[in-house]
Symmetry: C2
Subunit: 207 residues, 2 copies
DNA sequence: CTCTGTGAACATCTTCACAGCT
DNA sequence: AGCTGTGAAGATGTTCACAGAG
């Protein structure tokens, strides 16, 4: 398969949400124009995005809501369950552990770890915070696929090294630090301070 | 000023962090190559990014750490204080209110609001959660610049409409909903579920 | 000789416009 | 007639490669 742009994948993920809204409303077909106006893009963009993966629509009619949902879920790898471990049970880690947005789409939190004795043993939405010393063993025994990093920035890179050594191939980082992972590992970062600074730029630039 | 790509602004923000690391280490100059290797980019990219805003370097030597820091802070609008209001004191809102990453760079949280009586009155890192009914008045009296949205998805768009009507021009949304804002308002979204889905795609695609 | 600053070449992503099904 | 699917054109972002300052 040809390489797909991240922007395309992001939009696919959005389309899936709109499709689920449509299904909830009992609608059976949707056009590229409908998807476009919901997502703030153009109908050509929607058709182009989908065309990378095949031809799912019917000319003159549009797309079947259920068939397209299914197909996008397959493309995104959401038809399977992903087992997620969170490292760091501070404010962000705790918020992530209890975030409803994850569970409903096949992301299952199977463990939360911290180094702070005060946090170990706490229950976060049914998952008990465990001692980080148990992490290496648990990554394997719990069959974790993805690690969410919610530790202080200086602890983040060593943690990436550690979990990738244990075989983890997907990491989502929330620490404000630029991290590096070996080839074959997908590492993404969500940096809230950075987002605020980009907003600051936009506000300052138009003032 | 010509339009600057978001990717450029994002990198500038990263460069600023590296510059601060360098300053902490007492180093006085830095080359585009140094900045590039820290940020996982190329020296040409660094120079191009900076060139949009002027010529700050010395050929044969590099950039003055302190002068470049100062200049990037000006560009990003970080030499001033931004007054931030958080709406929604659930898990995410509370984590944001207590996130240290914001304060140190001129983002001051001046208020947190919720509709839930059980949360109103709670103290989050020194800020008392107030009743959301007071939001409209406080946006003006507290001179808020930026609103962070941490409410359930269905409440997000009405909230955007409300705060933009009150004069807010910068919104950072954490609810998993695609929002629209009037022209002149900068709205950015951080969507954690979306990030996990993009990760899922990457893992599924290489499997 | 080193490292910046930048036009030009290149690569990537988006939009256009229309042929082709239904 | 309506809407998809897709090459081609256009716009945007990145890398190259070198002139020029120190």
């Amino acid at each position: 398969m040809k390489h797909i742009a991240e922007s395309t994948v992001r939009r696919l993920s959005l389309y899936l949400r709109f499709l689920e809204d449509y299904r909830r409303q009992g609608l059976e077909t949707i056009s590229s124009g409908d998807l476009a106006s919901l997502g703030g893009t153009t109908s050509a963009q929607v058709r182009k995005d989908l065309s990378f993966f095949g031809s799912f629509g019917t000319r003159g009619l549009g797309y079947s809501v259920s068939a397209l949902s299914k197909r996008i879920r397959e493309i995104l790898g959401l038809e399977r369950e992903w087992r997620v471990i969170i490292v760091g049970a501070g404010k962000i880690g705790a918020a992530l552990a209890q975030y409803e947005g994850f569970g409903y789409r096949g992301f299952k939190i199977v463990g939360v770890y911290d180094v702070d004795q005060a946090r170990i043993g706490q229950s976060l939405d049914g998952v008990i915070v465990k001692d980080q010393q148990e992490l290496d063993g648990d990554l394997k025994s719990l069959k974790a696929d993805i690690v969410l990093i919610a530790v202080p920035p200086e602890a983040a890179q060593p943690l990436v090294d550690r979990v990738t050594k244990a075989g983890i191939r997907g990491v989502l980082n929330f620490a404000p630090a630029p991290l590096h992972a070996p080839a074959g590992v997908t590492l993404r970062s969500v940096d809230m301070a950075l987002e605020l600074e980009i907003l600051s730029y936009a506000l300052a630039a138009k003032a």
